[in-house]
């Protein structure tokens, strides 16, 4: 989802990090649909963890490489081998593919999407930039390992890496899902389209969010930002909005009074337990200082969803 939106943004901008884009190569497990663009776009299906795949992807020595999430949280927990293979081995093969060109002076900006899943309870109410990764899932472990690899390969000069710990992306477009993190999107997206949404957690659950638009903005900004001040610490927690479920529902009510009645409370102990270990808020001074920005409040996150996904108007509303 984020990859597709990033590609749309790049096609629209026609530029990145202050330079015009001359070409774009897309790779995913399933061949991505190339966007309409004023520059050549190549698109391939590739298994990043298959021998030679990463080397092929970097054969043309792109100046900027975006490496987005591969095996997602739930799947990485259910299929440990697959998660480790794609998320860790894939990263190492990509880093080694860059390193293979080091003799030619190649040192790409490598923007990697890490996650706040690197943090696990017990956590302070507001998590600072010095908090240690202590993941409670294999997905979080894999992301934390990749942060370390990225830092080591950057220190050695093989890549100029930056890892972005993304907030939970909200409101996600598409179909509702029962993944714990999907809940926060479901209760906005579904009612705004006149459909019911299940709420399995309590109203006072607090979490950390950024819109898809802001998340794409992080990636684009990271392609051009100076890494000089980062030193060996190449992972940055991205800014976001700390909001409770109740604040989400308030934001929904403001734009669509009555829509909140489509939210069906079905408490689920299992989901509640998972979510209880999640971070609630961050103090992202390092990222702020580098100019990364997100929404100011959840109202803005809802507004962005309506603009970007609903064409700026609500179904059934006056438009």
């Amino acid at each position: 989802m984020l990859g597709r939106k990033l590609v749309e943004r790049l096609a629209l901008d026609g530029a990145l990090a202050g330079e015009p884009l001359s070409a774009l190569s897309l790779a995913d497990a399933v061949e991505p649909v190339p966007p309409d663009a004023a520059f050549p776009v190549e698109s391939v299906a590739a298994d990043i963890a298959a021998r030679g795949a990463a080397a092929d992807l970097l054969a043309s020595r792109p100046d900027v490489v975006f490496h987005l999430a591969a095996v997602v949280s739930g799947e990485a927990e259910a299929d440990m081998d697959k998660g480790y293979r794609v998320n860790i081995d894939g990263m190492r093969l990509l880093l080694d593919a860059a390193r293979a060109h080091a003799g030619a002076g190649y040192r790409p900006r490598l923007v990697f999407t890490s996650s706040i899943a690197v943090f696990g309870a017990p956590l302070p109410d507001v998590i600072g930039d010095d908090e240690c990764p202590a993941p409670l899932t294999s997905y979080g472990t894999e992301k934390a390992v990749c942060e370390l690899l990225l830092a080591d390969y950057s220190r050695r000069g093989f890549v100029d890496g930056i890892a972005l710990r993304l907030p939970t992306v909200c409101v996600r477009p598409g179909a509702p899902n029962r993944a714990a993190s999907g809940v926060f999107s479901n209760i906005i997206r579904e009612p705004l389209s006149g459909r019911h949404a299940v709420l399995p957690v309590a109203d006072d659950v607090r979490h950390w969010f950024a819109s898809p638009r802001a998340s794409v903005g992080f990636l684009v900004h990271a392609a051009g930002v100076s890494t000089t001040g980062l030193g060996a610490r190449r992972a940055l927690t991205m800014p976001g909005v700390s909001a409770t479920v109740a604040e989400e529902i308030d934001a929904l009510r403001k734009v669509a009074p009555g829509a909140e009645r489509l939210i069906v409370r079905e408490p689920d102990e299992a989901v509640a337990t998972i979510v209880a270990g999640w971070p609630e808020a961050f103090d992202t001074q390092r990222a702020n200082a580098l100019g990364f920005t997100a929404e100011q409040d959840f109202d803005e996150i809802v507004r962005v969803f309506i603009e970007d996904e609903l064409g700026g108007r609500l179904a059934g509303g006056p438009g």
Copy 2:
């Protein structure tokens, strides 16, 4: 060195974690010399990162596994592929070998030697248990990655892991070496045997030490300690002695007045730069609470060296 001393200790104790030792399997890149012991000792040469090697080592399902450092710091920096292969891939193969027996209820205590090399500058004067790993070497990166893997495999119940961040082991027996961390041992060991030692760093350089005896003690204690309170945070910084080079020299002078004149100051910018990024002192509350103990001061470290390596008497002294 530490492996050999651990084996000697186990042979002497004949017990571990409150249980009599029934058998011991040793594995190293070069076949280790088995100790005299009252129980069967098997010894093999093995490449931990070779396919099948880790599985062979765990075929007999030992209750306790000690996984000590493999490729050391200098070599891991000089030969990146070798360091990653042995130190990271070797660990993963070992963990997966344990996991392969999980269906049979196997869950060994896995004691892993991590290192304070997981920490890199900028650092506070006294480093607490919540300091984040931010390594400045590939060796430190590999150790930090292994800590994460150990935690994830422990969380999933495949091993009951504990990672010990060892202080710089001092006084190391054997020949002097020019490795930066060897300096701190050289200036004690060599003069105590009537030989000159080169000192390439300033007298006010401060670092974190434990004797080989204390380090073996950490490993043995870790085999039996309760991991219940560790949660997902399976890495513990071990206690030690924070001492300056000047304090080392004072300790030397006390036991062998005049020996300090055998220390030859030859300032070396390169070594000084490396050492400047090293930790100086730790507050090891978590390890202390679990009963891990080291020496109280550098005088005691010198005394332990004389007892364990010089038979309790100084060369040329009255004995």
